[in-house]
């Protein structure tokens, strides 16, 4: 019968099971995997249609479900009733009884496992975490939903745009590199940047607390929060983390103490219990962090004594290490990313493939000199998407926030960047631009602009244009002298700086200032509407209250006020200082 059907594709007359006066229409029947054209009488019933289909698709009639225009075709209906005409497509699903059961059970289990929260599933997930790529679990199928949910944040973050494979791979490569190369690790630790970060207990605590998994952990184990709040302990921990030799010493002591403990009857059980209660979630929390190098740090912290770490409840030195260094590597990486982008001011000009002008060689010593890091950075710079991912990762956000709240720290971070140490002028500039810069880093639109190579190019063009103008017509724009230097990401700050510096110079040509203001507004407006919110308020509107206040205080030069406010990001006191320090009159 199948041959008859196939052979008679052209000859419709032999195809009909019953003689009928109606015309024959050709209907396409589409399954998810397949597509066939079936000739049937126009006035045939659905049952007859199904007979044909079952012959063609080799399935039983009661397994067939036909859908047309969103309706399920029932046996009693006729094709014309549903409006099925020549040339139209009808969808077919071939039911398999056990498949239906499977479908519901797997969907149930995967939904419960994702809803059950990541922590419980994270333990099995933690182990394969360093080696497993999310798309292929490599474990028993029943564990698969667990692993995916255990990855939870990881997977969704990884899917931010690069696609899970690429991003995860990148990260894992990084991890592998770090793990295999302990020197790199110590290099990172030795970097004064890192050490600086780590010597600030407040910052550390903030960052640790910002990690949602950490928060979960803290809820379940209040001891951990005690630990975090104990500054002495924090300091000790960070000392420890900073000094790898000391860490090793600690480890050895721990080992000895633990082996003693094991010999006590019942002691081993206590250890076991403590391990499963406290350490596992900690480790898995650490491993699940999407910061570069988090895993090797946890490995470093726990590796030498993976079995039974927690000897005494109070003494947690080895334990904090998994998350201590990762948070430092996170800010150092992202801080490096930040400073890396700002430090390119004097070095490489950005190009399309190298949007941030990242010159790997010049990106500060120590941490970034190892080839692994460099290739990573190159990859990042060549792939703006990755940068975007990095920048939009929640950890980055919290890091930015803490930086913004603590401008001193931020300036410290930047000052420590060796690139700046030789150039005090640059330092000064950055210091003054800091509040703006930080604000901008907070602004997601600014971020997306920063990572958008074309936008960066445009900014560069603007800057270059300004510089050309400056050389061509020095009389016109003398104020651009200082403003022209800073790097690309502070290009946004450049127009802000320019109007600020223009009152400081003697030339208070209102036309110039208008131009500056317009540019600034354009930038702000472009950034604002580009972000999709459309709230592109001009600085005037934003600083209305401050302007009024300044006016009331006697600063009647509205232009200068506005520019000062813009430069200081709305800070009245700083604006006043600025105005006073650069009296145009």
């Amino acid at each position: 019968m199948a041959e008859q059907g196939a052979a008679d594709l052209g000859n419709n007359n032999n195809n009909k099971p019953e003689a009928s006066e109606g015309t024959i229409i050709k209907v396409t029947v589409k399954t998810p995997k397949d597509k066939e054209e079936i000739a049937i009488a126009e006035d045939a019933s659905v049952t007859q249609f199904k007979e044909e289909i079952s012959k063609r698709f080799k399935a039983k009639q009661d397994q067939l479900v036909l859908i047309f225009a969103g309706k399920i075709l029932k046996d009693g209906d006729s094709l014309s009733q549903h409006g099925i005409k020549d040339g139209l497509t009808v969808h077919l699903v071939i039911k398999t009884a056990h498949k239906a059961a499977d479908g519901s059970s797997t969907s149930a289990s995967s939904s419960t496992s994702t809803q059950a929260g990541n922590s419980s599933a994270s333990s099995p997930a933690a182990n394969p975490a360093p080696t497993t790529v999310p798309t292929g679990s490599g474990q028993a199928p029943t564990q698969t939903p667990n692993i995916m949910s255990g990855f939870g944040d990881l997977a969704s973050l990884a899917g931010l745009g690069m696609g899970s494979a690429n991003f995860m791979e990148l990260q894992q490569q990084m991890q592998r590199q770090l793990m295999s190369n302990p020197e790199m690790l110590s290099q990172i630790m030795e970097n004064p940047l890192v050490q600086n970060m780590m010597s600030n207990p407040d910052l550390m605590r903030q960052m640790i607390m910002a990690n949602p998994q950490m928060q979960q952990l803290m809820e379940r184990n209040p001891e951990i929060s005690h630990m975090l709040n104990n500054p002495e302990l924090m300091r000790q921990t960070m000392e420890l983390a900073r000094n790898p030799a000391m860490m090793q010493e600690m480890m050895r002591n721990q080992d000895r103490a633990l082996s003693n403990l094991e010999s006590i009857p019942g002691g081993y059980n206590a250890l076991r219990r403590m391990y499963t209660d406290i350490q596992e979630p900690m480790f898995s929390a650490a491993r699940e962090q999407v910061s570069f190098g988090s895993n090797p740090f946890s490995a470093l912290g726990g590796n030498s004594d993976s079995g039974a770490q927690p000897s005494r409840t109070e003494n947690r030195e080895p334990l904090p290490n998994p998350w201590g260094p990762p948070n430092s590597s996170n800010p150092s990486e992202s801080g490096g990313g930040t400073t890396g982008s700002t430090s390119t001011s004097g070095t490489t000009n950005p190009s399309v493939s190298n949007p941030l002008g990242v010159n790997p060689a010049s990106l500060g010593n120590g941490m970034f000199n190892s080839p692994g890091m460099q290739s990573l950075l190159q990859q990042i710079s060549e792939n703006p998407q990755l940068m975007q991912n990095m920048l939009s990762a929640p950890y980055m956000r919290s890091m930015m926030q803490s930086l913004a709240q603590n401008p001193e720290l931020a300036s410290q971070v930047m000052m420590n960047n060796p690139l700046f140490s030789g150039n005090p002028q640059l330092q000064e500039q950055f210091r003054s631009q800091l509040p703006i810069f930080l604000q901008q880093m907070q602004n997601p639109e600014a971020l997306s602009v920063m990572t958008n190579p074309r936008a960066m190019q445009a900014l560069m063009q603007i800057q270059q244009g300004l510089q050309t103008l400056q050389t061509e017509a020095p009389g016109l724009m003398p104020s651009l002298m200082t403003g022209g230097i800073p790097g690309v990401p502070t290009g946004g700050a450049v127009p802000a700086e320019n109007p600020a510096s223009s009152p400081s110079s003697a030339a208070t040509n209102p036309a110039q200032q208008q131009l500056m203001q317009q540019m600034l507004q354009m930038f702000a407006g472009g950034g604002g509407s580009g972000g999709g919110n459309g709230t592109s308020q001009t600085p005037e509107v934003r600083f209305q209250t401050q302007l009024d206040q300044l006016n009331a205080m006697g600063f009647i030069n509205r232009e200068a006020n506005l520019q000062a406010l813009i430069a200081t990001g709305g800070d009245i006191n700083a604006a006043i200082e600025r105005l006073l320090g650069s009296q145009p009159s």
């Binding site: 859908i67 309706k71 973050l157 899917g159 745009g161 696609g163 494979a165 074309r454 999709g532």
Partner: protein, 164 residues
């Protein structure tokens, strides 16, 4: 089969560029694109979409893309959840496996289009399905094609259909 219930079907449309495409496309591409569209089909209380990892689903608005730019109401379907799941399973084994993802030719919008046709017989708005060809018709699009081909969009969601 006594299934007379009707399930509403909606199409969630997201602009992946967050508005930047509308701004920068005339400059970069030479033609106006209002957005880089990603779509998900919402039916039976879940949002389904196709990404680099395969067919995924999550709660509506549950991806990191957040709220959609626009929602198109596509009417109703009689296909119930079980049947739909079977259909998706078949798709996940054949046309819509994870490795079949191609940013230009076989992406989330292709999937949405097929699914919506299955569910309702209608197609998704053409400005979405025309997007890849529009981009490719510009010299810039041609230039970045190799880069985009290697990328995949995966807005998260951990319920991958037919996960091995």
């Amino acid at each position: 089969m006594a299934q007379n219930n009707s399930f509403p079907v909606k199409l969630f449309i997201y602009d992946l560029s967050g508005g930047m495409a509308r701004q920068l496309s005339p400059v970069m591409l030479g033609r106006q694109l209002d957005g880089i569209w990603h779509t998900g089909v919402v039916v039976h209380g879940k949002e389904f979409f196709f990404g680099g990892a395969g067919i995924n689903n999550c709660l509506p608005c549950g991806t990191i893309l957040g709220q959609p730019n626009s929602i198109v109401d596509l009417g109703y379907t009689e296909v119930n959840e079980d049947l739909f799941q079977e259909y998706l399973d078949s798709l996940a084994e054949s046309e819509y496996r994870g490795d079949k993802y191609n940013m230009f030719e076989h992406n989330c919008n292709t999937f949405s289009n097929d699914v919506v046709q299955f569910l309702t017989g209608k197609k998704i708005p053409s400005y979405i399905t025309d997007l890849p060809s529009e981009i490719l018709s510009t010299p810039f699009g041609q230039a970045i094609r190799p880069l985009l081909d290697s990328m995949a969009v995966n807005p998260g969601g951990n319920n991958i259909t037919g996960q091995r």
